[in-house]
Amino acid sequence: MNGEPFPGSSHRMPIRGIAVCAVLGVLIIIAFIVSMNTGFTRLPPLDVIKTLFGAGTAKQQIILFDFRLPRIVISVLVGAGLAVSGCIMQGLSRNGLADPGILGINAGAGLMVVLFVAFYPANTASSIFLLPFLALVGAGLAAALVYALAYQKHTGLSRTRLVLTGIAVAAGIHAAMIVLTLRIDPQKYQFVSVWLAGSIWGTNWKFVAALLPWILVLLPYAIYKSQILNVISLGDQMAAGLGASVEKERLRLLAVSVGLAGSCVAVGGGIGFVGLIGPHLARRLVGPKHQVLLPASALAGGLLVIVADTLARWIMQPSELPAGIVVAVIGAPYFLYLLVKSKE
């Protein structure tokens, strides 16, 4: 639109973008350290550092390395993944409201989890490793359904139709979920409801290992495709000028977005708002170019979830609040603030 050649023109990362990312990175590190102090057993900062370098007591070692550190790493990864997923969806649909939840991903994953918990004998020890995989399958199926229903042969994928279809499918899945949750016993219900509310429950290095490859592959790929996202987010005319390949690229990017969100929801439960707030926050800081916007979204999302999870552990000691609830309580007022300030 503003005369920039496409494709192939190399974009340097502007200084502002680098500075913002650096600040966000530093904030994540600070949050990391604070989060390591916080919890049922408080570890003073000095002890944290000592333990990190192998000089802590056995108990401190266990708390830090086996419980807190994997959880913190997972919250950063989940936040980053969800925010990038939301950022891609917002770019693709040119809709600031788009969020993994909108494509039915949270609902699809949730339905699989509820189905599994309802019909599987209550042996959580072995099933806990099956859940993330099932959730991923559910997320993928729901997204595919939304896509198939929203796609039309002649007009392709209209952004409004995608969002509306997502809302409808999610509502349908929620109705099915309510019917199911009324039938399961209270013990199981508690587990399901905490999971659905977005609790970082995978406090285990195995979950880190399961989630990390998705992030490491899909996130750089999304950044690699950022030029195409820039074009698509400019509008249909611009995209139409590029011909048929846009439709293919859009599908590819959508798959990336679903993969990221699905794997994150599988481990982090139904954390909403990160995919909405992370990119919004990043856009305000670094502008609309996806080369910078995607990394900044990832950092903003990671920061948001790590702060939320730390607060969740701190507020209601000794019992814990799901991080997703804290994210919503932080995120919703921010979104309302954005809404009130917007001129459109």
Partner: protein
């Protein structure tokens, strides 16, 4: 709604004969539905006994008690609540010129849900009368938040802004009620309410609800001309001499009372307010003086028959009526999204 505005000439023609026919037919059907609803249930009661229970009540017979104390209030509440939801939806769709508007959009469901969560957690033994009035208050607070934030910004209350504010406030209030539900382990109790149902409606509830609902329905009829004006757009309405600000305020108040009363009695049943006005518009044209009464009758019909259906799906268990209506509503919403997606 652009199509309606563009090709409004042929559609604006009124269909008084059709409307009259539909209204009388609808009322007859509704009476039939209520009779069916009273006759059908887990206990097999002969029609003669039903008749006697209603018109020559003998409090010593169990059959009479079932009919009089359980089935009759349930059937009547279904009809009344359906009318409330449908008329609230019709007014919202006309007022905001948003074909996808629904009482759930205004944060009413979420507000009532939060108050209920608070009541269940902190005042478990609260009498029903107070519970209804309090959840009505919650509905009003939810709506006031959405309406307030929606209209606070630059150019006032656009449909998109209303939808955004509604989604965000709902997410916030739902997150807080989820937190309370998880902490106090009352989630499954609330889930029954969230699923929506007229099964538990007693005379006391109906008595509390009736004056509000009846008054608001009457007010909706009085306001129907203004809704038609508003549905033509702000400029046209002002040009035709309508006082749009006053009309909007009146409409908002009526929607609030209608939806608040309905939600507090039977839970957040979605899609009635969305689907019914479209069907009514299809039959009687775009004049809200006809859409509103026809919506009221159709809404009552949908609820009464859905409630009968909810009892027939899996006897003696009851399927949540909200889920059943979602089953009808979701495909319809998808159809609307496909049709409207081009212009929105």
């Amino acid at each position: 709604m652009m199509t309606t505005a563009a090709s409004s000439e042929p559609k604006l023609r009124s269909r008084p004969a059709a409307a009259a026919f539909i209204m009388f037919g609808g009322i007859a059907l509704l009476a039939l539905g209520i009779i069916l609803s009273v006759s059908y249930g887990a206990a097999n009661i002969k029609p003669a006994a039903v008749w006697q229970a209603v018109f020559s009540y003998n409090p010593e017979l169990t059959e009479h008690q079932i009919v009089r104390e359980l089935r009759l209030p349930r059937a009547l509440a279904g009809a009344l609540v359906g009318a409330c939801f449908a008329v609230a939806g019709a007014i919202m769709q006309g007022m905001t010129r948003n074909p996808l508007a629904d009482p759930g959009l205004l944060g009413i469901n979420a507000g009532a849900g939060l108050v209920l969560a608070v009541c269940f957690a902190f005042f478990p033994g609260l009498p029903f009368l107070k519970l209804i009035l309090l959840s009505f208050l919650g509905a009003a607070v939810g709506a006031a938040l959405v309406y307030g934030f929606g209209s606070l910004a630059g150019k006032g209350l656009t449909p998109v802004r209303l939808a955004l504010a509604g989604a965000t406030v709902s997410a916030l209030l739902t997150a807080i009620s989820e937190g309370i539900a998880i902490y106090f382990r009352i989630g499954q109790d609330l889930a029954f309410w969230h699923a929506g149902g007229v099964a538990g409606v007693k005379w006391t509830q109906l008595r509390v609800m009736f004056p509000w609902a009846a008054g608001a329905l009457a007010a909706a009829l009085l306001l129907s001309r203004s809704v038609t004006l508003l549905s033509l757009g702000e400029e046209v309405a002002t040009g035709l001499g309508g006082r749009t600000a006053m009309a909007k305020l009146g409409c908002a108040a009526v929607v609030l009372v209608l939806a608040g009363a309905a939600v507090s009695a039977v839970g957040p049943i979605g899609f009635v307010g969305l689907v019914i006005p479209h069907i009514a518009r299809y039959f009687v044209g775009v004049d809200y003086r006809r859409i509103i009464p026809v919506s009221a009758i159709f809404g009552g019909l949908l609820m009464v028959f859905a409630d009968i259906g909810a009892r027939m799906v899996h006897p003696p268990y009851e399927t949540p009526i909200g889920a059943l209506i979602a089953l009808i509503g979701v495909p319809f919403f998808l159809y609307l999204a496909r049709r409207e997606g081009r212009e929105l």
